[in-house]
């Protein structure tokens, strides 16, 4: 009996020790799965994530197998899609849109052995959930400066998707950039309430141009606004990827999301057994955000853009540096103060100079 107990005790020790062992164990091969909000052919946001996936396959070769689901709506469908992936043997699942936040955390609770990486969110309710994001706003500041230099009337049109911190941050940064060049610069904002609907995005672009904007920028994913800008003979910025093919004479630059290096890093960590929960927010410095070539602009504008880009890249400058007031006139950042990342990631207010009412 005593012997028996001893064996049981030994078993118990072995069992309790095994999680510690598995936590550091290395893997031969990883199945990495991706969930996209739009079609991979949007030539915008989802396209760039898929480019990241292809980069991952190329970099890690036969050590990685990938799978993806595109055009997965944010909501109940997302949870089903993520759970399907978790059941089908995915070791790590990248959920690439803000609206997958709750679904990702819910499924992560049910599958503790699968790693989850949620893009642009802030909830990490389980140890197997990481969040990652890029400081797109850095690029939007440069766009704002270019817009203020290039606009003849001093008015730009901004096609926004949903009033989430990510998008609000972009608008604020764009305005701060523009007003650093022209303090009277004005921005018109249209909320499309969709990530991708070419018809509606085109309509929004037309409405903005008809009301006098002569520069168009967008935080929605299709190339339709670029085409409208081309037809109307004005300039525009590409979104998420280099959209120069759709407006060779139109695109000034684009904030390009480069997810590839991050995907390689995270899957490699899983292979080495060093994967840990992280909250990564990389910008130009880390190579997450890259500017498409500066085109269709005079040399002095290009020089200004390059100068700002270099300052941001070196870490010497952040677009959200005081003094900055909120839209209602109250103080936000004091002289020289840099915004707290936590405040930015929950940003639900405009800075002074944005002439729009933020939908709540």
């Amino acid at each position: 009996m005593k012997k028996m107990l001893g064996i049981i005790a030994a078993f118990a020790i072995a069992l309790s020790a095994s999680p510690a062992l598995s936590a550091s164990h290395t893997m031969e091969k990883v199945k990495a799965c991706f969930i996209y909000v739009g079609p991979i052919g949007d030539f915008g946001y989802s396209y760039q994530h898929d480019q990241g996936r292809l980069h991952l396959e190329e970099a890690l070769g036969d050590k990685v197998e990938t799978a993806y689901l595109e055009s997965v709506p944010e909501g109940a469908d997302a949870e089903r899609a993520i759970e399907r992936f978790a059941r089908s043997g995915c070791n790590i699942i990248f959920t690439t849109s803000f609206g997958y936040m709750d679904a990702t955390n819910k499924v992560a609770g049910k599958f503790p052995d699968v790693k989850f990486e949620h893009a642009t969110g802030y909830k990490r309710e389980h140890p197997n959930v990481s969040t990652y994001n890029s400081k797109f706003y850095e690029g939007r500041y440069i766009q704002g400066q270019i817009a203020a230099k290039m606009s003849k009337v001093g008015v730009a049109g901004y096609i926004a998707s949903f009033p989430i911190p990510e998008v609000v941050m972009g608008i604020n940064s764009f305005v701060l950039g523009a007003q650093s060049v022209n303090p009277d610069f004005k921005l018109k904002v249209v909320w499309a309430n969709t990530w991708i609907d070419p018809g509606k995005e085109a309509d929004a672009a037309k409405a903005l141009i008809d009301q006098g904007a002569d520069i168009i920028t967008q935080h929605t994913d299709s190339t339709a606004p670029m085409q409208v800008a081309t037809e109307r003979g004005i300039k525009a910025f590409g979104q998420a990827s280099d959209m120069i093919r759709f407006g060779p004479q139109t695109q000034l630059t684009a904030v390009v999301d480069d997810w590839g290096p991050y995907y390689v890093k995270r899957v490699s960590a899983l292979l080495d057994g060093t994967w840990e929960q992280v909250d990564v927010w990389g910008g130009m410095k880390e190579g997450h955000v890259v500017m498409a070539p500066y085109t269709n602009m005079p040399d002095d504008v290009k020089a200004l853009a390059e100068e700002t880009e270099a300052k941001i890249k070196s870490g010497a400058f952040d677009p959200f540096t005081g003094p900055v007031k909120k839209q209602d006139g109250s103080d936000w950042l004091a002289e020289g103060e840099v915004a707290d990342p936590g405040v930015l990631l929950g940003m639900n207010f405009y800075v002074a100079g944005v002439d729009d009412q933020l939908p709540q």
Binding site: E70, K188, T194, D210, Q357
Partner: protein
Amino acid sequence: MGMFEAILLTVFAAATPLLLAAIGELVTERSGVLNLGVEGMMIMGAVAGFAFAQITGNPYLGALGGMVAGALFSLLFAFLAITLVTNQVATGLALTILGLGLSGLWGEAFIGVPGVKLTPIVIPLLSDIPLIGRLFFAQDILFYVSIALVFAVSWFLFKTKAGLILRSVGDSHGSAHALGINVARVRYLAVMFGGACAGLGGAHLSLVYTTQWIENMTAGRGWIALALVVFASWRPLRILLGAYLFGAITILQLHIQALNLSDLEFLPAPIYGLMSVLKSIPSQFLSSLPYLATIVVLVLISRNRRLTLINTPAMLGQGFVPDR
């Protein structure tokens, strides 16, 4: 070009695909068949229209291709719902889902390709008339077709024998059958007409509206077209009104959003006050206005039971199995 004219131009463009798809569905429903696959047929028209235009380099052939694709795709529905007498609601929904999937598959090669635009046909002299010239006489062919179709369908349904036969099939397929009318044949033709129109509406999206192909680019316009048919209580001319009203709501909500209040301070106080109230409406609410309008109209017309019954095809959604 004045601002007013510019706004109307975009309203016209927004209304045309809705009008095309809705007028086709009206004819289908008048024959007693409820085809909920409009969205699917539209997207097939969009991808086929884009593909044909791209391959041949001719946007007119593209529009034709979109029309044919919509009609062919609707044949699948017709075979299931008319010949095999399946549940029309389920079959229509299946057609939409299938269309969205198939178009994504077939359209993959055309993603990211700048397309061929269907350019406007400018009618000399007439197009020089101030305001209405540019609006009515310098448009693409699909605009002219959509307007002509409304009047043609109205004339066909209410002034020709063939139209009477179609309506009789929709109102009482048993009686029509007893009179020797081939119910199935009439319905096949009506469904294919609906498919062709939806396909043409889809082709408008990928050839005129935004010259590109993207998956799911119809983005629910097929459903609005379906709602429009009910909105119009199955009368063609009301479809014209409805489509333009929907188009106007879609466009105007964007314009309200784009307004900067600080630019309007010169306006008299009441107008400025009105604008600031409009501006304070959340954009999410404005985006849902076209759908809310449909619900309001449905409530209004359903209050008058007799009026609803007069226009609703009595056999709508019911399969026909001849007993002898």
